[in-house]
Amino acid sequence: MIKAILIFNNHGKPRLIRFYQYFAEDMQQQIIRETFHLVSKRDDNVCNFLEGGSLIGGSDYKLIYRHYATLYFVFCVDSSESELGILDLIQVFVETLDKCFENVCELDLIFHMDKVHYILQEVVMGGMVLETNMNEIVGQVELQNRMEKSEGGLSAAPARAVSAVKNMNLPEIPRNINIGDINIKVPSLSPF
């Protein structure tokens, strides 16, 4: 079982958080912080497995992560998952993102948070691996996007809703986003 999937950047800002077991929000933040702390201080040339996330799981759980450009992809899994398998799954996930967004970068994850989730939903469901075949995943995602388009997409949202969003008083609208080299370079890895 996968217990959580976390994606955060080099500074620990979460970009995608998916827990398959309920944690209260403050606990979630703590977990993200702790995980970032554990992962970020590791060199790139050490192994991708980590034990000892004390907040999530305990001894049966492992953090399996990969670092791409500015983003860390961290999967928290228990002993029923194959470590190398999950590493491969992360690769599949990132490659799928790359295909769907065409050269995916951190900004894609920021501005298309929903889409990233939809893609993830085709890969992992309820903590269990649903599909590992990239073509199948991309196919299903695209079919659903097409359906959305045929409905007019989000732009066809009622005017009321749009104006409501516009008038929303967000205290922290990111003014200028200045990120250096954010393109995730997906190295082609041999399967497994």
């Binding site: 958080i17 980590l50 398998g85 929903d114 299903q140 959305e148």
Partner: protein, 1115 residues
């Protein structure tokens, strides 16, 4: 969402979820999956929406609903939607199928009852044409099987087939992992697996698969005890492959290789030990995870010979390590390695003590208490080392400022706790107690944590006693008086402590010392008395000792100490009414003392335990007086002072020198041994030690000191069984369900259909329904085959009609919350039969025959409701098929019928084991037995089921038949059955037995055997339901040991259990009708999905109602 609370939007999310547009629906479900959880209250509003989406024609609507649901499924949702999801498992689109299969796991977790009904279909999906669905099914079953492997052993052949045929690495990995979980339960499976797995290891190029194969082979080899010829070959292969992994440049593979290696280590340490070089090399790796794994491996590689060497290497690492976590890990590992299996590998405890002392110099470690407990443990258990330990600890105390100087190193000051205690407790070994005493009373001590100060104060008193003792005989008592003066000067500092413990101890001791000073001035000899304060040997207590204290016989902590108030009141009132106050008093006090004695005994027991566990408690028994003849201090080595190293505490020996010393000693030993070859003396060690398995002949290495490791104390007749520390809240525990048992109708998933009028079938329908019912009964006695078959036919068709009308929704809460009486009253009205008050029916008479036949009828009945299976929702087509099937079955039934009833006759008595194939049920579904015996209590040794029957001869008595079944492998004997009587119900005991004595069960139980015993109870009122608490005590006797066990139970007397079957013939019935005593009431019960006559049969069976039916027939 992203760690922010969005629960305020929960309701809006529900609104968006219910949008008809896919775009919004998808967003809604996404939001819900991110922020809904079991505590979200609006979640119950979503049930219908989700159901609608699940059955949507658009597969993606269904898809998002399933995905969303997988994240927030609650027990309620799981129960309500289980059936819908189950139908989706056979959806035409594989996309939906695989999602439905995966989500079933979540449903099982939340609603374990769904597992059995859904399992056959899940099994089907293992062979689904679509690889995605197949993989999902494998995934789910692997998750299930990981927690409760034994229930899934029967799937092994299927998985075996999949393993040999599948090419999907994901599926293969999962299956191989599953096999790893199954093999410990079935060694034969392991034997079969080895060959295909080794083939895979040789052939596969995928590292992940290779790794899992190696892992499972290891699991197989662990499960196979030994004796396989190619055993060592497989191990060799695994180790060899793992070596390749470890040597790989990829850090991930290196890590995994070490991980797997540590598994082999447990059973085959020798094969791993040959790779020691590689593992020591990994210790130098720059990757922390890998270093930690290598450390794990080291644990198993030590032997007497190389322990010092390995620890020396680790100590070097400790010095070099930069991160505190890694250093802490090293520290714990060093201690683990040294202390494993009762210090098995330590030959020189002086060396170990100095290692511990060196470890105290670690900066900022969190593990001060660990070092402290090791120091205490060694000092207490190894008597020979005490002198040395005390000397070391005294130095530590003297240099305490080095440890406490830095506030950041707070963790380490725990060590002072141990040091102070050791110096105090074994102060007779101290060279200069005066100096140590002075060190312990420095003002700086007041900055230490409270619990440490408390130990300081207490042990200062012990030291004081020693000093007095030493100087008693001398002519001028200067030293002794100085010491008292020192204490009196320094202790006030502690009296002011904020810590209560410190304050209290300091106050006590200061008063004591003042008193002693006075006596000293008068030249009174006090030393002996003061020492007597601290006399007594402290022995180590096993960590689980407290847990293992057997509960004294007859102690029931749940029982009332005094009678519960309502009852005692009525008791008290009687004497009061006589107004003899004086008479009442003694009665009261007598009872009190009796209770008090029991209570006191218990408390005493508890206190003894506490004392045993408390290192500060000094046992009072004079027999274990402290031995004062100190074994001398000769073997304290000459201390080397090395000032070049900055942080070295002066006066502390370096552990390194012991390595050299040890070498020399061993050389010498060898030489010695050659001389007196034969006499090889080995010291006695702790009981838990294992045979040495090191590669070298370790027998040759004798320890430096004659070491006597004191074994840990255990309470007398401690329970042998280790309590399993399973978490009772583990959701997977509920899924421990036997899947091979056939489905009972009560287990069917609730099916949602529209609710038609309940029980609107016309009256005649009911009439007809009941006629075949009882005619069947008659036939069971009279065997009128033909007529019965006709009626059966008629009944069949009726049933068929009725079924269509019938509502099938089972509202479980309703079923449970309604007391059985409700069913009964409904029944009363419909049948117009008279159980208006229980007494009427209980009128005893000898109708055992009727009883039997009714039981038989009921048993032959139960399971047409099979037909109301969930599939019914599907279509009427299905139903037609079924009708046909049933016709065929009727033919079969005719043949079987005769045989059946005979069969039932035989069985109706024994109840418990009955499971008779019933003609009316489809072939693949054997019947669940219907038995009057219900579970009384159960533990790992014994299972008790019981039945309550009225007594025909004596109305005030009921007989409780209890079947005892021995579930263990041991012999059970001396069973004693005891019940706490209530005012209403009393267990009948033989004459002369007291009201609290138990009854001996008149038999013993060999393993696996069951037997029945009957106990008679006298009952005052039968209109009062009762629950009686009781205990069964017994002795479990196995080959090695015999233990006392007990099992608590609650005997439940319902009013209906008092009923006795009585025939009521037409004239009596007519009279009854005339009398007008009959009352009727009705109650509507919804959600019963059983045909009426089954329900009736059940009610009759469980409540001894067959008299009612008979009387109706005679009408």
């Amino acid at each position: 969402m992203l760690g922010y609370d969005v629960s305020w939007a929960a309701f809006n999310i529900v609104e968006v979820m219910s949008s008809s547009k896919f775009t919004y629906k998808r967003i809604g479900y996404l939001a819900a999956s991110q922020c809904f959880h079991e505590g979200t209250d609006v979640i119950m509003l979503t049930t219908n929406q989700i159901r609608k989406d699940l059955s949507s024609p658009n597969q993606y609507d269904t898809g998002v609903a399933l995905t969303g649901l997988s994240c927030f499924v609650t027990p309620d949702l799981a129960r309500d939607l289980a059936n819908d999801i189950m139908t989706l498992m056979s959806h035409t689109k594989p996309y939906i199928r695989k999602k439905a299969v995966l989500i079933m796991y979540k449903v099982f977790l939340k609603y374990p009852e769904s597992l059995r009904p859904a399992f056959p279909r899940l099994k089907e999906k293992l062979e689904d044409p679509d690889p995605g669905v197949q993989s999902a099914a494998v995934n789910v079953i692997c998750e299930l099987a990981r927690r409760n492997p034994k229930n899934y052993l029967s799937l092994a052949p299927l998985f075996f087939k999949l393993m040999t045929s599948s090419t999907n690495n994901w599926v293969l990995i999962k299956i191989i992992k599953l096999f790893g979980a199954l093999t410990p339960l079935e060694p034969r499976l392991g034997k079969k697996l080895i060959e295909p797995l080794t083939n895979l290891i040789h052939s596969t190029s995928a590292m992940s698969l290779l790794y899992e194969c190696v892992n499972t082979v290891i699991a197989v080899l662990i499960s196979l005890s030994s004796g396989m010829p190619n055993h060592s070959a497989s191990i060799q292969l695994c180790v060899q492959k793992l070596r390749i992994l470890i040597e790989d440049s990829d850090q991930n593979l290196k890590y995994l290789g070490l991980l797997a290696m540590s598994k082999i280590l447990k059973t085959h340490p020798k094969s791993v030990q040959s790779h020691k070089d590689l593992i020591l090399q990994c210790l130098d790796d720059k990757d922390e995870s890998i270093r930690l794994r290598a450390l794990d491996l080291l644990y198993g590689m030590v032997s007497k010979k190389n322990l010092m060497e390995i620890v020396k290497k680790l100590m070097l690492h400790v010095d070099k390590a930069e991160g505190t976590t890694y250093r802490d890990e090293l520290l714990t590992k060093i201690i683990d390695i040294c202390s494993q299996s009762n210090y098995q590998y330590i030959t020189n405890f002086e060396w170990y003590i100095s290692i511990l002392v060196e470890l105290t110099r670690l900066e900022g470690t969190r593990h001060g208490h660990l070092i402290a407990s090791q120091m205490l443990d060694v000092a207490i258990r190894v008597k020979a080392i005490r002198g040395f330990a005390v000397a070391q600890m005294a130095t530590l105390l003297d240099n305490a400022h080095l440890l406490t100087g830095n506030t950041q190193r707070n963790g380490i000051c725990e060590v002072l706790y141990a040091a102070a205690w050791i110096c105090g407790e074994f102060s007779e070994h101290l060279e200069d107690p005066m100096q140590t005493l002075e060190a312990m009373l420095r003002p700086k001590v007041a900055t230490l944590p409270g619990h440490i100060q408390a130990v300081y104060v207490q042990n200062a008193a012990k030291l004081f006693a020693t000093v007095l003792q030493k100087h008693e005989g001398e002519t001028d008592s200067q030293v002794a008086q100085e010491t008292s003066q020192l204490l009196i000067e320094r202790l006030p500092l502690f009296v002011q402590s904020a810590n209560l413990e410190v304050q209290e101890r300091a106050s006590c001791i200061i008063q004591l010392v003042k008193y002693i000073q006075k006596l000293q001035q008068k030249n009174v000899e006090v030393a002996d008395e003061v020492t007597a304060l601290f006399a007594g040997e402290l022995n180590p207590v096993a960590p689980k000792a407290q847990k293992k204290v057997p509960i004294p016989e007859g102690l029931d902590l749940d029982a009332w100490i005094n009678e519960p108030p309502s009852e005692s009141e009525s008791e008290d009132e009687k004497p009061k009414s006589k107004a003899v106050f004086a008479k009442e008093e003694p009665k009261h006090s007598r009872r009190h003392t009796e209770v008090d004695e029991k209570e006191l005994a218990r408390r005493r027991e508890v206190r003894k335990q506490e004392q045993a566990n408390n290192p500060f408690y000094i046992k009072a028994s004079p027999s274990s007086q402290k031995v004062f003849d100190a074994p001398g201090v000769e073997h304290i080595p000459v201390v080397q002072i090395d000032l070049s190293v900055p942080l070295k505490v002066p006066g502390m020996p370096m552990s390194d020198q012991y390595v050299k010393l040890e070498e020399e000693r061993r050389q010498k030993d060898k030489a010695d041994k050659k001389k007196k070859d034969k006499k090889k003396k080995r010291e006695k060690r702790g009981k838990g030690r294992k045979a040495d398995s090191g590669p070298e002949s370790e027998e040759d290495i004798t320890p430096a000191q004659q070491v006597d490791i004191v074994t840990e104390e255990m309470p007398e007749n401690a329970l042998p069984s280790d309590d399993d520390d399973k978490d009772p809240n583990d959701p997977h525990k509920a899924l421990d369900i036997d899947l091979d048992k056939p489905l009972a109708d009560s287990e069917k998933l609730p099916v949602r259909t529209h609710r038609p009028e309940v029980l609107k079938s016309p009256a005649e329908d009911r009439e007809n329904e009941s006629i075949p019912q009882e005619s069947k009964k008659k036939s069971s006695k009279e065997k009128k085959e033909k007529k019965k078959d006709k009626e059966k036919d008629r009944k069949r068709s009726k049933e068929e009609k009725k079924k269509k009308k019938k509502h099938k929704e089972v509202e479980e809460e309703l079923m449970e919350s309604q007391p059985e009486e409700a069913v009964q009253s409904e029944d009363t009205k419909e049948m117009a039969v008279p159980p208006t008050s229980a007494e009427e029916v209980t009128a005893p008479s000898s109708t055992a025959a009727v009883d039997t036949s009714s039981a038989a009828a009921a048993e032959s009945e139960p399971d047409e409701p099979k037909d109301t299976e969930p599939e019914d929702t599907k279509s009427s087509k299905h139903k037609k098929k079924k009708q046909k099937k049933e016709k065929e079955e009727k033919e079969k039934k005719k043949k079987k019928r005769h045989h059946h009833h005979h069969h039932h006759r035989h069985h109706s008595d024994g109840g418990g084991e009955d499971s008779v194939q019933n003609g009316t049920v489809e072939d693949e579904e054997p019947l669940p037995p219907m038995s009057n015996y219900s579970l009384l209590a159960e533990n790992s040794y014994i299972k008790m089921v019981y039945d309550i029957q009225g007594n025909h001869q004596d109305e005030s008595k009921v007989v409780v038949s209890v079947i005892f079944e021995n579930k263990s492998d041991s012999f059970l004997k001396s069973m004693e059955f005891n019940v706490l009587d209530s005012l209403n119900s009393k267990l009948q005991r033989p004459d002369g037995a007291g009201p609290h004595d138990g009854l001996t069960v008149p038999f013993q139980l060999p393993p696996g055997v069951s037997n029945e015993a009957r106990f008679v109870f006298t009952v005052q009122s039968i209109v009062m339901p009762q629950k009686l608490k009781g205990t069964l005590t017994f002795i479990v006797k196995s080959e090695e040991s015999s233990t006392h066990e007990k099992l608590d139970f609650k005997l439940h007397f319902t009013c209906t259990s008092y009923l006795i079957t009585t025939p009521c013939y037409s004239d009596a019935y007519a009279k009854l009708l005339e009398s007008g005593d009959l009352k009727g009431s009705s109650l509507r019960l919804e959600g019963v999905n059983m045909p009426f006559h089954h329900l009736l049969a059940r009610i009759c069976f469980h409540h001894h109602f067959s008299g009612a039916l008979t009387s109706q027939r005679s009408l």
